[in-house]
Amino acid sequence: MFRFILSKLSLLVPTFFGVSLVAFTFIRLLPGDPVELLAGERGMSAERHAALMQQYGFDLPIWQQYLQFMGKVLQGDLGTSIVTKQPVLDEFLTLFPATVELSLVAILLATLIGLPAGVIAAVRRGSVFDHSIMGVSLTGYSMPIFWWGLLLIIFFSGILGWTPVSGRLSLMYFFEPVTGFMIIDAILSGEDGALASALHHLILPAFVLGTIPLAVIARQTRSAMLEVLQEDYVRTARAKGLPTWRVVGLHALRNALITVVTVIGLQVGVLLAGAILTETIFAWPGVGKWIVDSISRRDYSSVQGGLLLIALVVMVVNLVVDLLYGLVNPRIRHQS
């Protein structure tokens, strides 16, 4: 097991440096620079531009800037945002809980709906139910999030008036964030109705963000179940005269879950990508929107620092899933 962990960990290091290099160079490949954008539409004189570039250290050769950046990163300093002058790590930590909260609820919704749907589709293979589930999930998978989100807002908030349009909490509640997780903060605040309001605001964005993972989970559960249901031990269980729910729910599902758990783990990257759009539509103050804003402002420090942190989160989550997987399934452990 120790060797297994070590081999996984050793892969993290090159990935980390790879991501840092990509994040660092790509933002610099875009036309325009932060100093130019600082001046706004007015523009500024060439001398002042050069002086400011020098002040920020952007006049150095790019490899030198990269070494300086990585040198600081290794000491835990991700730099200061050029636009807001706040430490990048502070900004990230303020916004990150909102993204985590949204993503967790999204994946929870996706699993709660996707898993049973996939199981039923597999058991009733070829039925109308199966075909409709697979049809709907294919549609869900191909749905452009931006359009989907807007559509749901117009329908549920605009026409039916069931859900609030955007935001995390009704404006009538006001308390200082403690944990950054609105559900927890709402409970801690002790204000009547704050928790209901927070949940009410969460439903729509979580569902939109969870749509693609939901489709993936439903499809993967179905195919994993189909495979397992043809195994000999399932036939044996059936022959023994066990009730269907026991055969499906205990014997088959337990084994199918190994694949499904991995799939759920892999959705973390999908969720973070989807969060960029979902957060923009629903005015959700998370890191996805922050990165997009920083790119358009050419805020080099926020983009490179933020992307590095997000990549780190994805890598750690994938590592944990890998380890769990190895724990559940000894074959994996021994192969490596």
Partner: protein, 529 residues
Amino acid sequence: MKSLFKTLLAATVAATTLAAPAYAAKTLVFCSEGSPEGFTPSLYTSGTTFDASSRQIFNRLVEFDRGTTKIVPALAESWNVSDDGLEYTFNLRKGVKFQTTKEFTPSRDFNADDVLFSFNRQRLADHPYHSVSGGSYEYFNGMSMPDLIKDIVKVDDYTVKFVLNRPEAPMIANLAMDFASIHSAEYADQMSGNKDMFDQKPVGTGPFQLVAYQKDAVIRYKAHPDYWAGKAPIDNLVFAITPDASVRYQKLKAGECHVMTYPNPADLDAMSKDSAVNLMQQEGLNVGYLAYNTKMAPFNNPVVRKALNMAINKDAIIDAVFQGAGKVAKNPIPPTIWSYNERTVDDAYNPEAARQMLADAGISGLKTKVWAMPVQRPYNPNARRMAELIQADWKAVGVEAEVVSYEWGEYLNRSKAEDRDGAVLLGWTGDNGDPDNFLAVLLGCDGVGGSNRAQWCYQPFEDLIQKAKVVSDRDLRTQYYEAAQVIMKDQAPWATIAHSVVFKPIRKEVVDFRIDPFGGHVFYGVDLK
């Protein structure tokens, strides 16, 4: 499962319906488009930041009368200018209170020290606050303040004198700009151990004070109870930061906000029919133009320029490019600026006459270029399309034009060249509502090879704008500028194309909201029914 869902839904619906009457105090919610960069206006250049800071929290010595470009007294009750135009003396208002916040309780009223602090921070490199929060003051520099201001003198506690290096009539208008907001020197002293916090927890004399800011989510203000001009009619002001324009409209419809910014052009039609919404509109403080290179033949001949202007169908451009959200421009300054000359006669669209004029000038088989900006701007939402329309119009009078474009930075640089080939599409948004900010910057002799893309230096015009720059009498300046606009039209260094129209959807219960010509949002004076 089904019934559980129903119960949940019922519970949440109940919770929100119950929530409504809790707004006992008057709270106005503004759906803004983004997070401010910070709260000290002089450090930044974006309108989003000014909306959140200077326009609510701070005052300036002089200010723009709400909804106009007219200058009115604010923290300065009155001022006078010396005969040589070099000394501006301001008499400060007495009894002005700074806001009391969690971090700061003011012990004295506003006085001359606060004025000195606010300007010296930007002006003097050795000022203790100069390099705090990145310390770059782009507007202060962009408006040439470092060259212009020789000294700022505290005459007594309520009198401040600005000494200039040269006469500059737009100086007063400059001091109404956001970067000239007045901060508390006493608060700065108190925060000297933690200077960054001074910029994050702002204290001003303005009508609203900051209560809380959650990045990318919400900004909360409450009315400053001791505001010198009287407490604001609303008690609380909330900015609900909502980046997507269509979502902002949904929020407005649902009553989650009262005023919204930048509507999606595609939503305008629905808004105008919406019974809950009042769609306000006004010409923006900008101009979009096509600048010929007046130094290159045959465009050095005013007749040729005039003929090409007459060949352009501007109404068709307004329809196709602005889709109605624009007005044809006849002057180089927008109608919301004082001294706009109503009597100027625009070059009428007349392709036949244009063809004749070109023939009379001995032009045949003319080939040229039209430069199309690669970016969207309020004064030109689609330059490529505009360039193609002009290309087609010119073809009808026998002029072959090629449409060219470059990356934005490159475009701005290359279009400055005095030997540039072709006519450039560009535009300008005003900073301070002074005609000088358009006419001298864009058409003055100093701008040749720079912001004067027509490379046009015409002495009769130049004399007028120079005279208008040094006198401070407004009526006299108006006369000069009106005459200058007539000369400009006659000489046609540009085809003046359009002013954009700004749309502002507000809910019907909002009382006395006025569109700010500078594109900002000012909530003092606004009330709710």
